[in-house]
């Protein structure tokens, strides 16, 4: 994805599926992902702590006409509702941009990528729910 347009980092300040990582560690992972893919890293926005809040992701999506895409610390920071994720994929791909999960090392740039990630999401939601006490 070596392009001239930069990629906006996206990190979180709340646990996702019971998991959290320090914000500076999330930034390291996002920055390293961009470096390995020779993409210009744009300073991360930090999602707010309130559960279900995606105000900062919206901020990043608003930048899509000017950037190459968004690099999430993890794909599991996406909204839990499938239809909301689908709408988000459509906005990203519709702008000719891409979405990335740095921890997973997975990019979403095509319909096939979406199907792959949705399979991962479906299994993750199933297994995480069943594993929870």
């Amino acid at each position: 994805m070596a392009e001239t347009r930069g990629y906006r980092g996206y990190i979180g300040s709340r646990p996702y599926f019971g998991q959290r990582a320090p914000q500076h560690v999330q930034n390291l992972v996002v920055r390293d992902y961009c470096r390995r893919l020779e993409a210009e890293y744009l300073l991360s926005v930090t999602e707010y702590a309130m559960p279900g809040c995606f105000i900062m992701l919206e901020e990043a999506l608003r930048e899509l006409p000017r950037i190459g895409g968004i690099v999430l610390y993890s794909l599991f920071m996406l909204p839990e509702a499938k239809d909301r994720r689908r709408a988000l994929y459509d906005r990203v791909l519709g702008q000719g941009a891409s979405l990335h999960g740095a921890v997973e090392g997975i990019a979403i740039a095509t319909e096939a990528d979406i199907a792959r990630v949705e399979d991962i999401w479906a299994v993750h939601q199933l297994t995480w729910t069943r594993a929870a006490p």
């Binding site: 300040s13 709340r14 959290r20 320090p22 914000q23 500076h24 930090t46 707010y48 702590a49 309130m50 809040c53 995606f54 105000i55 919206e58 901020e59 608003r62």
Partner: protein, 274 residues
Amino acid sequence: MSNPAPEPDFLTSEERALAASFLDLGHVILPVERPDLLARMRALIAAAAAAHLGLPAPSDDGGFLDTIHQRVDGGGLNGLRLAVIEAVGRESWFRPAYYALARQALGHLVGNEMAMQRRLGLSVQLPGDASSLLPVHADVWDGDSAYEVVAWLPLVDCFATKSMYILPLDKDRAVQARLADFAQGSAEDLYRAVEGDARFLDVPFGSILLFTQTAMHGNRINLEPSTRWSMNCRFKSLLSPYADKRLGEFFEPITIRPATRMGMDYRLPGGFDG
């Protein structure tokens, strides 16, 4: 008959006055308690900035910092900021000095067993530069605990758009109660909604601003003819709840009192089997 002595109270009149002001406004602006240390801190920062730019240490630290935009542009700003913050990080006296600037006031507002942010923040905002803006936010939304106080230290006179703005608590709470209404909007939409109530704080060099990061605040493009230099550091009562900014990775204990050390080390005798 002589007047009876006033009834004793748990809080001094000074503590009461400071607490009332903080609880009413969400912030207080006070003279630093150690001007000598502040001068030393600013001299270090000015010298580090000058060294990064290949210049000798300035004779007028404040004037040099105020006019740094004559020597660096937006493209070189982050490199300068990182060089200065690295220089600060190498000086072990700097954080204790920072604490000493407001030690008594922090004791009154936060407590006397304290955790302090490990890495100090530094903001440099050139006139007209849009690259260093903080959109309207409350730090508690980003993972800071509601029990923290920010000590915001100007290294030059900060006023109007060269300073930061904050919302009065009553206005802030009313907007936060309906924050979800802005879920599909931008941070700028939120700022437009609160703009009329935002107060830009006049914080001259030699003073320090202590504010609650539960209140919305931020900055705008610096429309003044001089450069803003300010530092920020969070303090919290050591044993109050932590949020996403944890002990070790973000905070560090600085004043653990002996009774707490005793308690942490003590274990009740064991070995009973009945």
